[in-house]
């Protein structure tokens, strides 16, 4: 294999359990975002635009969707003669086989993959964030400083700093201390989970870490502190663009809604830095004579007969006549029936909301069985993928609906889904 100056490794094995039903069958990086993307499109597109052409994607939790989505990497221009994108699940070897025990162990288990490219630098990324970043600038800073490691940091509000991994630096941005979720933060520079390492140095630490039976095999908890202890040159690289962790239902909803604001903080429609994704072959979307569409994002393959306001609508969604969708995110191929109301909700892929039902209801007679304030907050209602809600059902706000809700009467509304193809007005 021809050598590459830099290899990127994307940690995409996390479950993202705070996303509840959304990540029951898919890993967090495969969660849809922004009308036509998946979260992993952001780091993959960043790699493509930063000139990094060898990328490993480390999968573990529910990898099927990610594997098929990434495929040969062609949508991100990562189908390369040398390098390209590789999906790297854990594997069994002659001596042993084990799951990825932690972020550092995941990289450790792929030392062979990385070394095959004989790189000078390795970029470690997480597949959980929405941001546009030119990694090549960060690598340049890393090279200029002759650092062992460079960690991207972003200023966060002081009152939120205790939720992040905080980097304490000297005036030259050298990291002097790293604190994971400090109670009393000394700095508001949070780690973005974007690291550049000089490969020969990182490799030594990975091997040492693996030999330490007490280690959690984690970059934040083990590798970074160990490198700091040994007085390696560790640089903080300040990033001042938009960066959003979409680890909770509320933050995912907010990040989608943010796209609709006057100034989202980043330009998603940027011809020079497109976010690439696997595009489905769908026709343009249709807006019917009686529908009202205000302040929203709508993608190809949708058929809109109802009213949509302040919402992000993914591909292949049908919204029937008289339906009202407000402040919501509707994932691919979901169906919203006639006169249904969807209020501040996220509707999962292929979900079926029958006519006259109401999602996110404040009424007393609404179904409260799925009330879940652990996952849902800020009155956001979550309907799981493939879940169907029967005719006339009201689902209380702050619910996470994980299974079909049938009609309470004798007449069951089961099998509703099968009529989908013919149910449009």
């Amino acid at each position: 294999m021809k050598s590459k100056e830099c290899v990127a490794m994307i940690l995409a094995g996390g479950q993202g359990s705070r996303l509840g039903i959304l990540t029951k069958d898919i890993a967090k990086p495969a969660v849809p975002f922004g009308g036509k993307y998946k979260i992993i499109d952001f780091p993959l597109s960043n790699c493509a635009h930063s000139g990094i052409t060898a990328v490993g994607v480390l999968t573990q939790y529910q990898p099927l969707e990610l594997n098929t989505y990434i495929g040969n990497g062609q949508p991100w221009d990562l189908d390369r003669n040398d390098g390209g994108v590789y999906v790297l699940p854990p594997y069994v070897s002659a001596e042993k086989g084990e799951w990825y025990k932690g972020t550092a162990n995941a990289i450790y288990q792929n030392i062979g993959f990385i070394s095959g490219f004989d790189p000078k630098y390795v970029v470690i990324l997480s597949g959980d964030h929405i941001y546009k970043m030119d990694y090549s600038k960060m690598i340049k800073a890393h090279k200029a400083a002759e650092a062992a490691a460079t960690i991207a940091v972003i200023e966060v509000p002081w009152d939120e700093a205790s939720r992040f991994g905080i980097m304490n630096t000297d005036e030259d941005m050298n990291i002097v201390e790293f604190e994971e979720k400090p109670k009393k933060p000394k700095s508001n520079l949070a780690s973005m989970g974007v690291y550049v390492f000089s490969w020969d140095i990182l490799k030594k630490y990975l091997i040492a870490d693996e030999n330490d039976p007490n280690s959690d095999n984690d970059f934040g908890k083990n590798i970074i502190p160990a490198m700091l202890r040994d007085q390696n040159k560790m640089l903080a690289y300040r990033f001042d663009g938009y960066w959003k962790d979409v680890g909770t239902i509320q933050s995912l909803w907010e990040a989608n809604m943010n796209l609709l604001s006057e100034n989202p903080g980043y330009e998603i429609n940027d011809p020079g830095w497109k976010i690439f994704s696997r595009n489905p072959a769908k026709p343009p979307h249709y807006i019917a004579p009686k529908s009202k569409v205000k302040n929203c994002y709508i993608t190809e393959g949708c058929e809109i007969f109802g009213d949509v306001e302040n919402s992000v609508i993914f591909q292949g969604v049908t919204i029937e006549e008289g339906a009202v969708v407000r402040d919501s995110v509707i994932f691919p191929d979901a169906y919203i029936g006639k006169n249904a109301v969807v209020n501040k909700a996220m509707i999962g892929t292929d979900a079926y909301i029958s006519e006259n039902s109401e999602i996110g209801s404040a009424d007393d007679d609404s179904v409260k069985d799925f009330y879940n304030t652990k996952i849902c907050s800020d009155d956001i209602t979550l309907i799981g993928p493939n879940v169907s809600v029967a005719e006339g059902i009201k689902v209380a706000s702050c619910s996470m609906v994980t299974r079909n809700i049938k009609k309470p009467s004798v007449e069951k509304a089961a099998g509703k889904k099968s009529v989908k193809g013919t149910a449009t007005a």
């Binding site: 922004g34 009308g35 036509k36 062609q74 949508p75 609709l260 998603i268 429609n269 497109k274 976010i275 690439f276 994704s277 595009n279 072959a281 769908k282 026709p283 343009p284 979307h285 249709y286 807006i287 019917a288 004579p289 009686k290 529908s291 009202k292 569409v293 205000k294 302040n295 929203c296 994002y297 709508i298 993608t299 190809e300 992000v312 609508i313 193809g421 449009t424």
Partner: protein, 376 residues
């Protein structure tokens, strides 16, 4: 399943189609239609969806935008090792002596491609009949009838005199064989209108082309079909779905606006139909502003809409400003209609800019066409 024994040939030009300003810089096949497609996407997708993995496109001299659009053929899954997509320009030695290029002239540029390909059968088609057709059924019909040539037709009752002049009608016998061929008749004696698609054994096609070239004959319908009526087993397969031939600006405009009909969208893009592929642009979703008023429109990705839009086909990356009123129009890729403009019955080619407050009004029977990259 991949059909390893059939290749496709699509004609990117058609001397009988004239789309004026829209074809000033591009071939017929590359004319944008339907919000995100080019004319050729439909036939190319039909071929691929029917398992054909080797497609040649005969090209004219204006082929830059066509080659740019189809590229390596990847969007149609035609970036293949041995087969795939081939652009076939006319032979350099062609001497037209002032006459227009006929189908056989284009085919003469495909001879070495035909000879070198391993497939035994050829599906030929014009590019400008928009439909979603299962060509496997045509092939099955061909073998079932043990035909030499199978032509595809559609029922077209009640053609007006001007329409008749552009049609080729078949007399079709009960067994499906073609008993008569009338090219541009004055009177309608049959409803079976030719869709400019036929299926044939490659060796026979090559023989017929060589024979025509030797006799200085250039027209497929006359010199290949009509000349062999009664000599070869010519059968006709009836296609019953939606189709629209785009050969004039009017037909182009009609087809685009017909996409506002649910039945037409279902015939071309329905869930039970195979996908129509096109070049991927990675556009963002379309953004609608707070004051947007959109009714009965077909809108592609990457647009920003702040004004009023009614009965329109809007292509990728179009911007429509605040207070603009746009009706009954076709607006191609990356055109911009600025604030407070009024537009009715207009076809905007790509990248047109209509400056703030301007008004452009055509007639439904005579839409105004604004050429590519014009600033109004």
């Amino acid at each position: 399943m991949v059909n390893n024994n059939t290749l496709g040939l699509i004609f990117s030009e058609n001397s009988e189609a004239s789309l004026g300003e829209l074809m000033k810089f591009r071939s017929l096949a590359a004319v944008p239609v339907g919000g995100r497609y080019r004319i050729i996407d439909f036939m190319l997708s039909n071929m691929v969806n029917s398992g054909i993995a080797n497609v040649g496109i005969t090209a004219g001299f204006k082929n830059r935008s066509l080659t740019d659009h189809v590229g390596s053929g990847r969007a149609w899954d035609l970036a293949r090792k041995e087969t795939g997509l081939f652009i076939l320009p006319p032979p350099e030695t062609i001497d037209l002596n002032g006459r227009i290029m006929g189908g056989i002239d284009y085919l003469s540029g495909a001879m070495s491609y035909l000879n070198r390909s391993r497939q035994e059968y050829v599906m030929l088609s014009d590019c400008n009949t928009i439909c979603n057709i299962d060509l496997e059924k045509v092939m099955d019909f061909h073998f079932e009838k043990d035909a030499d040539i199978t032509v595809v037709y559609t029922e077209e009752p009640n053609l007006g005199p001007r329409e008749l002049e552009k049609h080729i009608l078949f007399g079709v016998a009960d067994d499906g064989s073609v008993s008569d061929i009338q090219i541009y008749p004055k009177k309608q004696k049959s409803d079976a209108a030719y869709m400019h698609m036929f299926f044939i054994k490659k060796s026979l096609l090559i023989e017929l082309i060589e024979d025509c070239l030797a006799h200085d004959e250039h027209v497929i319908s006359k010199n290949i079909l009509l000349a062999n009526l009664g000599k070869l087993r010519i059968f006709a397969y009836k296609f019953e779905g939606y189709k629209k031939k785009i050969d004039t600006i009017d037909a182009f405009f009609e087809f685009n606006l017909e996409l506002l009909r649910e039945d037409v969208r279902r015939e071309l893009f329905g869930e039970d139909k195979k996908s129509i592929y096109t070049k991927v642009k990675d556009s963002v979703p379309t953004k609608y502003g707070r004051e947007a008023e959109v009714k009965n429109s077909f809108i592609a990705d990457g647009c920003e809409i702040y004004g009023e839009v009614e009965n329109c086909i809007v292509f990728r990356g179009v911007k429509i400003g605040k207070g603009a009123k746009v009706k009954n129009s076709v607006i191609m890729q990356k055109s911009q209609i600025m604030d407070n403009c009024t537009v009715d019955n207009v076809i905007f080619d790509k990248e047109v800019i209509l400056c703030s407050g301007k008004s452009l009004v055509g007639e439904s029977t005579y839409p105004l066409v604004i050429g590519k990259r014009k600033v109004v």
